[in-house]
Symmetry: C2
Subunit: 213 residues, 2 copies
Amino acid sequence: MTTAPSASPRKASPRRSAGETRDALMEAAFGLVRTKGLAATSVDEICAAAGVSKGAFFHHFKSKDELAAEAAYHWSAVTEPFFAAAAYHAPADPLDRVLGYIDLRREMTEGEIAEFTCFVGTMAQEAWATSPAVQAATWDSMSRHADALVADIEAARQSRGITADWNARSLALHIVAVTQGAFILAKASGDRTLAGESLIHLRRYVTQLFRTT
Amino acid sequence: MTTAPSASPRKASPRRSAGETRDALMEAAFGLVRTKGLAATSVDEICAAAGVSKGAFFHHFKSKDELAAEAAYHWSAVTEPFFAAAAYHAPADPLDRVLGYIDLRREMTEGEIAEFTCFVGTMAQEAWATSPAVQAATWDSMSRHADALVADIEAARQSRGITADWNARSLALHIVAVTQGAFILAKASGDRTLAGESLIHLRRYVTQLFRTT
DNA sequence: ACGGGCAAACCGACTAGTTGGTATGTAGGT
DNA sequence: ACCTACATACCAACTAGTCGGTTTGCCCGT
């Protein structure tokens, strides 16, 4: 659910192919919403950032709300390959893979806030009570992201013969929650390092959870 | 930084005392912002919820932005006494007090989302890059809230002779982060219990941190 | 190879309503 | 008499969304 490209420079107008404009609009929204929030981002701004007209916007999306929901699904589509291809999947021990994910998350907090922060997490705060479509889309994204961690957590649990009163999905969601909370800390304080420190606590928790001695 | 009253019914106009209208406006903002976000909440809505006119609003605040910042400080002013008076301070063991705080937080997630959720956390997401005054105010609130936990954490650490590579303030901020993250989980999923589950993980972490055996 | 037809992609002016903010007036306490 | 605490009317700027019209790529019969 995090980290994405910014609007691309685009070529000199030999009409973009089918989904290209659509993608450009959604990806322009990524950047704007992450820094200003959804409500404060106008359709005109999104169009300007994507380099298209308002007519094009409403040709592809029937409302701003629909754009937001579609963009949340698109967010998954662009972040999932990023995390799937990341180096933390390499270790043989599944626990090392889970810890590797947390480490990657922490490394990402060394960039700019608007760039390591979560698009869908931001929208969830604004849309949960006002737009069922957007809420559903943000939850789909966060939920799927958590699911990607479940297999490794479960494997780590079984390899160590741990029978705990928590299940893999619950821990995966906790990891997502800490990540989101760390973002808020960084945004409120303006200090990126605070996000990293929270992730270190999370890492220690996960390590302790699987300690067998 | 969390949990607050909603707009009161108010009496039949024998002029409210000095700060009353001001407080009513800020407290009306609490409810509206927590469900819709700051940008989506209009000045007119806040006035209507507080039962005053727009003229009154701009008599007390020179802009919507100033209202938001002042409301963040007011948020501290109303939540601090609430937490200060809570029962979790009773135990003699400082660790029990820290765990008691987390338990209280978890119990609160049994109410409505708009009522256990954090006003300043929501605003931080929208204002961190666009309004320095609001960002500073949200951080002041979150930071002070964390500080309220520091003494107990430090006492627990010393009573158990723990020399760790984390300090009390870092753990306090982590507790705040998990709380905020749990809120996002609840908002995105629409399922309050997910917030509680994340807080259970946090509780287990803190327990393990102070285990001396 | 070619041109006519057609649908999808796109543009930008327009609208109706909402926004934050102001200007001006007034009621009540001291 | 005077100042604070409001109320009302208003405005310019901006909002999401619409609409008539234009451009572009592509299919297809010749």
